[in-house]
């Protein structure tokens, strides 16, 4: 009999062989080349080396994000199970963790491929980065070994170790994984906002090179984004298993898993724009022209595509929540609100995706009075967009609030007052956010930029204060019935897939813009890109590459899902009459 453990080792063996073959191939070219002309770049015959490295780096990043994210919420779920004694949580955490083993192997393999690719195709750049960051390599490798140890101990030790020890392993896995990400982030953020070097590019201070302008914002942004991404992929696994479930019990379990996964993803998505805002501020602080290239120059249209993606995320998340209400007795009371919520979300989506200027013919531009449409010009600026995104977040939160209280009836004496206070907070914050948005049209740029902070803070205040009130409001609430897990349409599961694909595409797009904003620089202002690929491609070209990467990622993740699903299968048994069964029957008992 083959166990899942042995199967996963069987997968790692060919992967290991692949890595060794790559080492051999790359080492040969890497060592042979210096005797010739020591090229700055090497090319491939059928595909641009930049596109290849782009795809490998992005796939590595996606798997790494998943491998780093899953332990975070698996640990939290396991801890909830430990504290409540509810075995379902433990099983759910284990279901998520099952996805880790193969994903970790894929991450490592893609990481090796990326390293070798850099050495072979970008030797001069690699040499420079090695010169700067050589001190970080040993800690990275040591942490990687520890990561492997804690990950496999956490996975294989499930149910075999004491719960406290197992939780400790989970904590260590998260700490080590985060530390690895922080080191790798130093390398890539240095390329955007190099620091700790003199004017000639020589290293003067390794800590300043690591702690460059966007290092910590990227660290925080990635932790949150990883959780959102990991939650979405975990939810997609739940949906995949739900659609193939043969029993009601399995349907209920995987429906729950999908819900928890997307709940985690949406919770992480909500603060993500704020982390992104901090990242943007630091980019501007480093170099205003870099920030303007990102937001107002070459890449400004990319953020329209981003708005479409995030708008779809909000739409799909709300749609899933509304469909999910079908499994909750009493939710029908709130069905009437959905059309209003949909209306607000659609309106915010439209404003957010409104471009500032339009591509128009000369005649059209004359008719409009310039490339800025008289109406779109008003909606396509940051004042309107910031207002729209804040209201979008608030509306999604209201959907979640309705879902949360769907089968509950408050029994506290101050229930009516509590509801009015919650409504008052919402109303006040909405008015304040809209007021600041309108006010932004009448002030200078610096003041306008500063207005986004009180907008964000007021929305956060609304969400936190309303949640706190809600918790007390529905303490000892009367239940209208238990949630019937599994009672949900197949469409809802496709909404989960849609969310996972959209998250992945968004991640690919933002990965592109983070690297792309350097334009014709490998290390901004220090190492110039002199290759044939030094141009910044069109958004359509970049979109095509991102789509291809996303499709390949889902092909690979399908392998992960398949292998993770094997552990739940029954042991293989020979058919009666086959040579295996005869051999088994004739075999001595003690063999």
């Amino acid at each position: 009999m083959l166990t899942i453990d042995r199967r996963s080792w069987m997968l790692r063996i060919p992967l290991g062989i692949l890595v060794l073959v790559l080492v051999a191939l790359c080492s040969e070219s890497a060592w042979a080349a210096p005797q010739e002309a020591d090229p700055e770049y090497r090319a491939l015959p059928f595909i641009s080396s930049r596109v290849l490295m782009w795809a490998v780096a992005e796939l590595h990043l996606m798997f790494a994000a998943f491998v780093l994210a899953v332990p975070i919420f698996a640990l939290v779920i396991e801890f909830i199970g430990y504290k409540t004694g509810d075995r379902r949580y433990d099983q759910l955490a284990y279901d998520f963790t099952k996805l880790l083993s193969v994903s970790f192997s894929f991450t490592a393999t893609l990481g090796a491929l990326l390293t070798f690719g850099l050495i072979v195709f970008y030797p001069a750049l690699t040499q420079y980065l090695v010169k700067i960051f050589s001190w970080t390599f040993l800690p990275y490798v040591l942490l990687f070994f520890l990561e492997a140890f804690f990950l496999y101990a956490y996975y294989y030790g499930w149910g075999k170790l004491s719960p406290r020890l197992h939780l400790f392993l989970g904590v260590m896995l998260n700490i080590v994984g985060t530390a690895i990400m922080f080191i790798a982030n130093a390398w890539l953020t240095f390329m955007n906002t190099p620091n700790g070097i003199d004017e000639m590019g020589n290293l003067t201070n390794i800590w300043e090179a690591i702690n460059n302008y966007i290092w910590m914002p990227i660290n925080i942004h990635r932790i949150i984004a990883n959780v959102a991404f990991g939650g979405a992929i975990g939810a997609a696994y739940g949906a995949f298993k739900f659609l193939g479930a043969k029993t009601l019990e399995a349907r209920a379990h995987y429906d729950w898993m999908g819900y928890i996964g997307i709940f985690v993803a949406i919770c992480a998505l909500l603060p993500l724009p704020f982390a992104g805002y901090w990242l943007g501020v630091e980019i501007y602080a480093y170099d205003q022209s870099l920030g303007i290239t990102l937001m107002g120059g070459t890449f400004s249209w990319l953020f329209i595509v981003q708005a479409v993606l995030i708008g779809n995320l909000f739409l799909a998340a709300n749609y899933y929540l509304w469909l999910s209400m079908a499994r909750i007795p009493g939710a029908e009371r709130f069905r009437g609100f959905i059309k209003y919520l949909l209306g607000i979300i659609t309106l915010c989506f439209i404003v957010w995706a409104t471009p500032h200027s339009l591509v128009a013919t000369v005649e059209e531009a004359r008719a409009m009075g310039g490339s800025h449409h008289p109406i779109l010009n008003v909606l396509g600026v940051m004042s309107a967009k910031n207002t729209a995104v804040n209201l979008l977040i608030l509306t999604t939160y209201v959907s979640f609030l309705l879902y949360r209280r769907a089968n509950k009836e408050a029994t506290v004496s101050w229930a009516k007052t509590g509801n009015w206070v919650q409504f008052g907070i919402f109303a006040a914050v909405v008015i304040y956010v809209v007021f600041l948005g309108v006010y932004g049209y009448f002030v200078d740029a610096q003041t306008r930029i500063g207005l986004s902070q009180p907008q964000v803070m007021s929305v956060l205040f609304a969400m936190i204060s309303v949640t706190v009130i809600d918790i007390f409001l529905f303490k000892n609430a009367k239940s209208r019935g238990e949630i019937v897990w599994g009672k949900i349409s197949a469409r809802s599961q496709y909404a989960l897939f849609f969310l996972a694909i959209t998250f992945t595409w968004l991640m690919g797009l933002m990965g592109y813009v983070r690297a792309g904003m350097r334009q014709h620089w490998h290390v901004y202002g220090v190492v110039r890109d002199t290759s044939v690929d030094a141009f910044t491609p069109t958004l359509g070209y970049a979109g095509g590459v991102v789509s291809a990467i996303v499709i390949v990622f889902f092909l690979l993740i399908a392998i992960v899902f398949f292998l993770a699903g094997l552990s739940g299968r029954k042991d293989w048994e020979p058919k009666s009459g086959s040579r295996w069964s005869k051999a088994e029957a004739s075999a001595p008992i003690d063999s």
């Binding site: 000639m200 205003q288 740029a445």
Partner: protein
């Protein structure tokens, strides 16, 4: 299996939809800025169109500055008519000085209502050469004013910035060809290869005049033998200032010597 294929088909449809969205927005491929050849004998009139090209291209000025937009929410000053007002911005400063300072040391004076943040355009990543900056000044003067700057105009910041180069010297490493090393280590700042006069002796035909050993000595100890008509100590000071001796590797030095001997 059927279910898995349906899900995969759905993945392809959604991915292609987003690709379509990215095709729907304006498509612009951005090429790296090209170095513009600037002759030493350009007239002021000839400098203007070159400056205009640099403002829109390599200088990336229009990434931040507008040209004729008088809105209230601008993040950087509008450049329309700058030629007419540049000489009046700061008391005692000529328009040429003001415009030059705005590019070499942009935060020395920041116009009221705006915040500091413009980078020195003579430094990477923009890295305009002194000659390119002169043409930009000519163009900016032409926006409402009368251009007076010439290619011979001397500015106090000239010669401080690295010449236009692909990589910072430290990033060069051992696998750059000798011609690139020659530029990267700023040898071309003082030495020409075409026989014309410069701060240092021309290197044209150097291989016929000096052996490899002599060239080697001239690089590592420039004051050991000084060419007639040139001042001792200048090259030593230059090499010290740029940290040449600390950065250059043995293989690079060998490559440079071989290259110079081949001239």
């Amino acid at each position: 299996m059927k279910q898995a294929l349906k899900i995969f088909g759905f993945t392809i449809v959604v991915s292609v939809f987003y690709w379509y969205v990215s095709l729907w927005v304006p498509q612009k491929r951005t090429e790296p800025p090209e170095d513009i050849e600037i002759g030493a004998n350009l007239t002021t009139e000839e400098m203007i169109p070159i400056g205009e090209e640099i403002v829109a291209g390599k200088g990336t000025c229009l990434t931040c500055h507008t040209m004729g937009d008088h809105g209230t929410g601008l993040r950087f000053p509008d450049l329309a008519g700058i030629g007419a007002i540049a000489g009046e911005r700061v008391a005692g400063q000529s328009d040429v000085y003001y415009l030059a300072e705005s590019m070499y040391d942009p935060n020395a004076y920041v116009l009221e209502g705006y915040v500091a943040g413009m980078p020195n355009v003579a430094r990477p990543p923009i890295a305009l050469t002194d000659q390119e900056i002169l043409t930009v000044i000519a163009y900016l003067q032409s926006l409402g004013g009368t251009p007076t700057v010439t290619m011979d105009t001397q500015l106090e910041w000239q010669g401080q910035a690295p010449a236009s180069q692909d990589v910072a010297p430290a990033a060069v490493g051992g696998n750059r060809d000798a011609e690139t090393l020659f530029a990267a280590y700023l040898c071309n700042t003082c030495h020409t290869l075409d026989g014309t006069a410069a701060a240092g002796p021309t290197l044209q035909g150097l291989g016929g005049r000096m052996s490899k050993a002599e060239i080697y000595e001239a690089i590592v100890d420039p004051d050991a033998t000084v060419t007639e008509g040139f001042v001792a100590g200048v090259m030593t000071a230059m090499l010290d200032a740029t940290g040449f001796h600390e950065q250059v590797s043995a293989s690079e030095l060998q490559a440079l010597v071989d290259y110079l001997a081949s001239l």
